[in-house]
Amino acid sequence: MTPSPIPRLEVKNITKRFPGVLANDNISLSILPGEIHALLGENGAGKTTLMNIVYGLVHRDSGEILINGMPVNIRSPREAIQHRVGMVHQHFMLVPTLTVAENVILGMRPFTHHLLDMREIEQDILKIAEKYGLQIKPSELISRLSVGEQQRVEIVKALYRGVDLLILDEPTAVLTPQETTELFKTIRSLTKQGLSIIFITHKLNEVMEVADRISVLRDGKLIATKSVQETDKDELAFLMVDRCISFTVEKPEMKRGEPVLVVKDLTVSDKFRTQVDHISFHVCSGEILGIAGVDGNGQNELALSLSGLLRPSSGKILLNGKDVTHESVRKLNRVGLGHIPADRQNLGLVMDFTVAENLILQRYYCSPFTTTLGFFDLAQIQENAQRLVREYDIRTRTTQTKLNHLSGGNQQKVILAREIDQKPKLLIAVQPTRGLDCGATEYIHQILVEQRNAGAAILLVSTELDEILALSDRICVMYEGKIMGELLNTGEDILRIGRLMAGVTDS
């Protein structure tokens, strides 16, 4: 081996303890110039924490950080930016009411710099975007962009600041397959210009496709750093979870029953546009209906209106034969609707409540949680929480831990446990495995299939084609608020589905 160049970033013996968890345990890593370095690990392995330390958002307990061989002490994002480190966060840091250009320029000019010439700034941004083949429209409001577009803005935001090291925290969790391919192209063109990239993910396929070297974290410890050539998916999966996992879901023959959910001519629109456009379909008990489609084609609005959170402008929703179009959420819930929302932090959970409390959000007023006198039965609540934490393998220190101290994947498990434990007749699952590692994903897939076998009707909305193909019995493809086509899932229609997703009808 030739003597290796000075690493762009070197972390040495980083340790970080949160109350009750050792999030980073003596981690040492180095990132070379021009390298794509993947950081792989299950939910809660400590990936985000380590990167937040490098970016100055979290302060380390001990350890050292070197940038280009020089020890640095990064205490705030401002200092990280000065050292030419950029980060695209797992949850985007964009102000929805501002334009793309305003978000990019935010914090870039001193307050004493009068008059922002937005025209000129937009030109600069376009130049950078073009240089790296990123498509963005600088004058558009963030709130009007899809997640994929917002991510491009985040990347441009970092590039505009001038970075040598770009950290991407689970960038593909919210992307469609096409967008992921685009992102990989971008990443490669960035490294050609000498940037180093740290790429956090759970997805082994992606790691093998794009990374140069891979570091695996488990329970806060660095397990191994490997180059792609010397490893494979099975080994990585093993290192990550320390147990062997299979990648396919066992799915017995479907036993389809009566229709549980019937949707007739449903339309949802707001002031600006029609998000769901005269849709009709049904889901029977014992089947999984997958709704495929590129993010932002009305799937979210469809799911929200079915679960009573968004008022349809016309059409009918029948649940077990009864018209529930204008029923309240609680009523829907009582007649057997379970909902795993896409926006888990805002719609699914109360982040300031404990795990135990979040697990009874819908049922808190019923027995056994509330006694006949109207008081909480704390012992029951606690027991319920302990049972669900155990059954669904929710990694939390105690049942009294607040939700915002759980990692993203474990937050998702809390929703799942709560919804599925009620044995819903209809389960609406929107992006149920977004941001989850392969162990957790497999587990959730298994649970969904179990529910189906037990006779539940399941509406699965996902932008992950693999997930749709692995689980669905039937597939509907949505495009611009309409159902472009419906097909039985034979697992062999990827091309046709892809065409439908892009809005090309069967001819």
């Binding site: 979290v58 840091m93 964009l94 009411t97 501002l98």
Partner: protein, 304 residues
């Protein structure tokens, strides 16, 4: 003639409201709602009144009013931003402190001492040429210096908020403080700055009452103007030009109410006096849900 007098009074009555509401717009855009404007106005009013009474300098009175209000504003900022106390409760406390402190000073220094307590007031300064324009001239350009100041301050504050780096940061910090933090901007300092700016303007708006509107201080002389300014902000959709126009609307209600009292109609004057407050209620109902408020309004920022 009647109409010109009415409109001219409208502008005069609107001025203190616009000052206060411009400041509050900045504060709310940065994510901090200060319902203690009424209290800050009273602090400004009593300070200006006392200072002018003893020094005879109107300019000094105005500066003193702003500084005094900023001092209390700093206390509010410390509680609302650093300590992360509930902004509504803290603001309510500020109102009571303002009422108490101003009443206390007034009684100790003036009421019990029997001093004749009229002070000098800001004179109307007719602007050469401009004030001779028919109709608009006497309405807009034969006013006191603070009215002119509001004419200048409105476009400047609108420009700063919408076209400068500072304004962009202020707008962002009221929507998504974490994003602001993640690009390395000082969330707390931005909020402190906006609160202090709002306090200074509330002090100025309060000072206007004893030294430009009346020539004396009475306890509680703001009579709810701080709260009216507070309602103007959402009514205006958190924009400066909107606040200016809203101020004129309320100014008109005040001016009309005074006119009608003088006109000796067969309506009880107490009823006429409720006009601005009825308008406030109407405005609140009408402006409901019109524009989205800043997302992080009233939400203290927790770093990390």
């Amino acid at each position: 003639m009647e109409l010109i007098a009415l409109l001219s009074a409208t502008v005069r009555m609107a001025t203190p409201l616009i000052f206060v509401a411009i400041g509050e717009t900045y504060s709310e855009r940065a994510g901090v709602m200060n319902i203690g404007l009424e209290g800050l106005m009273l602090i400004g009013a009593i300070t200006a009144y006392t200072a002018v009474f003893f020094t005879g300098s109107l300019f000094f009175g105005l500066i003193a009013a702003m500084l005094a209000a900023m001092l209390f504003g700093f206390g509010f900022a410390y509680l609302a931003v650093t300590i992360k106390a509930n902004q509504i409760v803290t603001g309510a406390a500020l109102n009571m402190i303002g009422l108490g402190v101003s009443g206390f000073i007034y009684r100790v220094v003036f009421a019990n001492t029997g001093i004749v307590s009229a002070v000098k007031t800001l004179p109307a300064i007719p602007l050469p040429f401009l004030s001779e324009i028919p109709f608009a001239g006497p309405i807009l350009f034969n006013q006191n210096a603070l009215v002119y100041f509001v004419f200048i301050l409105t476009p400047i504050t609108a420009f700063v908020l919408n076209k400068t780096s500072l304004g962009l940061s202020i707008r962002a910090v009221g929507e998504h403080p974490r994003a602001v933090d993640s690009v390395g901007l000082p969330v707390f300092r931005l909020r402190y700055g906006c609160i202090l700016f709002a306090a200074a303007l509330a002090g100025l708006g309060g000072a206007y009452l004893p030294i430009a509107h009346a020539n004396q201080f009475v306890e509680g002389l703001t009579a709810g103007r701080g709260f009216i300014a507070l309602t103007m902000v959402p009514f205006a959709g958190w924009t400066i030009p909107g606040v200016f126009l809203g101020g004129l609307l309320f100014g008109a209600a005040y001016a009309l109410q005074l006119r009608l009292q003088v006109a000796q109609l067969a309506i009880a004057y107490q009823f006429l006096q409720t006009l601005p407050y009825l308008l406030t209620l109407a405005v609140l109902i009408l402006s409901r849900n019109r524009t989205e408020q800043p997302k992080a309004l009233c939400v203290p920022y927790e770093a990390g």
